[in-house]
């Protein structure tokens, strides 16, 4: 069974094709011959893929793997994260707070038709104002916060109802 990973919003499959004489993996349609130079266990390490050497640091934090490769940083979602995302895809009626903050202003009202990207409310977090937008089209089913009140990470802010097509 391939392992699922997400990067930049897209999910890829990684599968093991063979282990000898070299590790052979498949990333979606790309065949990869992999050599990993021992690094004494810790980051950084050297990974050679199809003859191309890469210098890699990595740190796992729950279902995210932070990777620094060849001078750039990436954040990769791992299996469990993919499953969670798949589930929350069904439940994306719920717009929840990604971090603690305060409500500055509501930009949508009960019953409003909204398109994906439409502003729903403005929050303030870490001294910055952020506009929370609709993840997809729908109708505002309920609003669970008021201006000038604070909320915790994960708080339900707005509930959408899918538009019947």
């Amino acid at each position: 069974m391939p392992t699922l990973l997400t990067l930049d919003g897209t999910t890829s499959e990684v599968d093991i094709i063979g282990r000898r004489p070299q590790l052979n993996l498949r990333v979606d349609d790309l065949h990869c011959r992999v050599e990993e130079l021992p690094s004494g266990g810790a980051s950084p390490c050297d990974i050679t893929i199809n003859g191309q050497r890469h210098r890699v640091w990595r740190a796992r934090e729950g279902d995210r793997i932070h990777v620094h490769l060849d001078g750039r940083s990436y954040s990769v979602g791992y299996q469990e994260a993919v499953r969670a995302a798949a589930q929350s895809g069904h439940a994306s009626n719920e717009i929840r707070a990604e971090m603690p903050g305060m409500v500055v202003e509501l930009r949508a009202a009960l019953g409003d038709d909204v398109a994906a990207g439409d502003p729903l409310l403005v929050i303030e977090s870490m001294k910055m104002q952020i506009t929370v937008t609709a993840p997809r089209a729908g109708v505002i089913e309920s609003i669970h916060v008021e201006p000038n009140t604070s909320f915790q990470k994960g708080t339900l802010l707005v509930l959408l109802r899918a538009v019947v097509e």
Binding site: D8, I16, L30, S43, A59, H68, G71, M99, G101, M126
Partner: protein, 490 residues
Amino acid sequence: MLKNVLIANRGEIACRIIRTLKEMGIASTAVYHFADRGAPHVAAADHAIELTALVPTAAYLDTAQLLAAARTAGADAIHPGYGFLAENAVFAAAVEAAGLVFIGPQPEVIRLMGDKILAREFAVAQGLPVAPSCQQDGTLAEFVAQASAIGFPLLIKAAAGGGGKGMSIVRSAEELPARASTASSEALRYFADGRVYAERYIERPRHIEVQIFGDGQGHVVHLFERECSVQRRFQKIIEESPAPNLPVALRDRICAAAVQLAAAAGYRNAGTVEFILAPDGEFYFLEMNTRLQVEHPVTEFVTGLDLVELQLRLAGGEACTLQQRDIAQTGHAFECRICAEQPEHDFRPATGRVAILEPPQGPGVRFDGGLRVGLPVTAAFDSMLAKLITHAPTRAESAARMRAALAELVLLGVDHNVDYLGRIFAHPEFLAGRLHTGFVVEQAEQLVAEPLTPAVRAAVLLAAVLGTDEFSRLAYECPEPHASIGHWRN
């Protein structure tokens, strides 16, 4: 000479100040909220005193507790850093009333420069150019009428504010009433002062500021200019010195204006006079920041001076012997602000925990941070994590050095803008020094990351998945003879 300085701040600037205190043999006292108990500034200081507050930032704003901590530690001076109480005249006065040295300007100078309207009037009185403007002194409706008379586009902002809060650009008379009303309510919320202020908006303006240092007796020198035009959400992210493509004669006029203003105010300690420079070469006084600036390291690189040392010597009672002729501007310095944010999502602040930190090293590279592995990055504080500063003989070499240093910096565990900054340093307009404060917005499309090639995407995914125990077990602990795969795992 001071004996013990309490730093009423946290993060990178607290660490920065402690460094110079150590070099000068002055004891350092850190303060911290419980949320910061594992922070580097606490460990770096000789003494550390916990302040209690429900909200972490409130601890660093609590004058009574700060003064009590200074007494407990036996501190003879307080350095406010930047932000928090650094430009609070009431705090500065309270520090002095408690018999301590406030490392900054006189309280009345802070008060004067802290009020945009008073400061502007003072600048006009000193002959400094200011942009056409008007301030609200009656009803909002009267303000709207006066502001319309200046002409459009207009910049509207809070009279008492700073840092881009409640600021907006109005391009026509039709939208003015609503925007003025919004600005006023934001001003009231942020600064407990609803008065607003409008001025002619300069298209494609540059933000040029001058670092000055005064002895409080009227002797003021400048440490040349900084260009801070690369901003996102009205906040600087890249600063440099010298300003590129700025004729020397114009540079000298701007610096002279800054010295003129500061000398007239009898300015004491380090300060910054900010100007807007229009494409036609006209410049206008914007405001004066009465404190050490985030971007002071670029000035330190090009002048070879330690600004915190200058601050501490003056505060310790030494005469300021620094003369203008002793100060030279050598080479070119850049600063990048490393922030916990997602540039691809409108610079939304990010949170996390520092998992790996490898600061860049080498000639002409400086990394000012307040980070350590394991440190949580929360929404409780500002999103700026560290600053990366480079210096080289020319702007092109300094930019190349910054590009290499950004690539060398490894910071994992929280999303940040390091790659984004790297893209700015590869942008032809930036490299040509054609800057204005709208640069980031104007060039937004050019600054988006190129889509990954399939090979790079595969490399990233494989690097990630091979770092997990689960997958590496699948990959390496296979039923084949152990010897044949032993070398994979050392």
